[in-house]
């Protein structure tokens, strides 16, 4: 019902490609622009979601389930990455009392 009409109703796969690219580029811009390490991790999540959106779009476009399962695995990896990244960040905060990435440029004090 919905699917049969979505890609025939003027919404093309190119639209989703541009939307996903825009989201990805916003994530890249955030990583380059912001200084707060937590916001940086959030921008990485944003980039992962842009890729997920494109994978689901192509999965629907070709009628194959593989793309959606890739999204599933990306979510698994993102959850693990967020957990470990945030716990490392909490440890860094204990040492420096800040989450500014410019203070993290030394591996050894």
């Amino acid at each position: 019902m919905l699917l049969a009409t979505l890609f025939e109703s003027g919404v093309k796969i190119e639209h989703y490609m541009v939307l996903a690219t825009a989201l990805f580029v916003i994530g890249v811009f955030g990583v380059l622009y912001r200084k707060n390490a937590i916001i940086l991790l959030m921008c990485i999540e944003l980039m992962l979601n842009a890729v997920n959106l494109l994978l689901v779009a192509f999965s629907t476009y070709f009628g194959q389930a593989d793309g959606q399962l890739f999204v599933f695995f990306i979510m698994v990896v993102a959850a693990a990455e967020a957990t470990v990244g945030l716990s490392i960040l909490v440890l860094l905060y204990r040492n420096t009392r800040s989450t500014d990435i410019r203070l993290f440029n030394k591996l050894k004090n």
């Binding site: 890609f7 937590i38 959030m42 009628g63």
Partner: protein, 170 residues
């Protein structure tokens, strides 16, 4: 309301909230905008008939990961922290890098030759739990098991990192 109008509204709102994640000064506000972005992306998944992924996206991302971010923000007590001034060079450089990447990617995609969409009577059921589960537990059963090992490693790592050390630095 036609479908492409819904697509344009959803896409515009998604890009707007994603920009607010990057541009808002307050970290908590950033997290809340990111939750909104994830809900809008889930709406996009529903548009594409991927119901299972839409629900999992809300549960895992908006529910679990973002609550984790919010907890860490509250624990670190960064609310009163005022963001340092961004240097003009960094801002301009980031804008040029982002805009250049966007142009290059879109230009590369314009030349891509795409096959026609494959829509038959089965393609409506692709995103449902039944079909996805069947593919997951037959074709992708090894990656599924390996991801459980990844979770175990992440769990051990998080516990190990969060444990307070006996002798603290300095």
């Amino acid at each position: 309301m036609s479908l492409d109008l819904i697509f344009y509204i959803l896409g515009g709102l998604t890009i707007g909230t994603a920009l607010m994640v990057v541009l808002s000064k307050h970290p908590v506000r950033s997290v809340l905008y990111l939750v909104l972005t994830f809900f809008l992306i889930s709406a996009n998944y529903v548009m594409m008939n991927a119901q299972f992924i839409a629900i999992v996206n809300i549960i895992v991302y908006a529910g679990a990961i973002m609550v984790l971010f919010l907890f860490v923000l509250m624990l670190l007590n960064l609310n009163k922290e005022n963001e340092p001034k961004h240097s003009l060079w960094m801002t301009v450089g980031a804008m040029i890098a982002g805009g250049g990447l966007f142009l290059v990617l879109v230009a590369a995609m314009r030349d891509a030759i795409l096959a026609a969409p494959m829509i038959d009577e089965n393609s409506e059921k692709v995103g449902l739990v039944e079909n996805l589960g069947q593919v997951l537990f037959t074709k992708y059963v090894l990656p599924f098991e390996v991801s459980s090992i990844l979770f175990l490693a992440a769990m051990v790592g998080a516990v190990l990192l969060a444990k307070r050390e006996k002798q603290t630095i300095e």
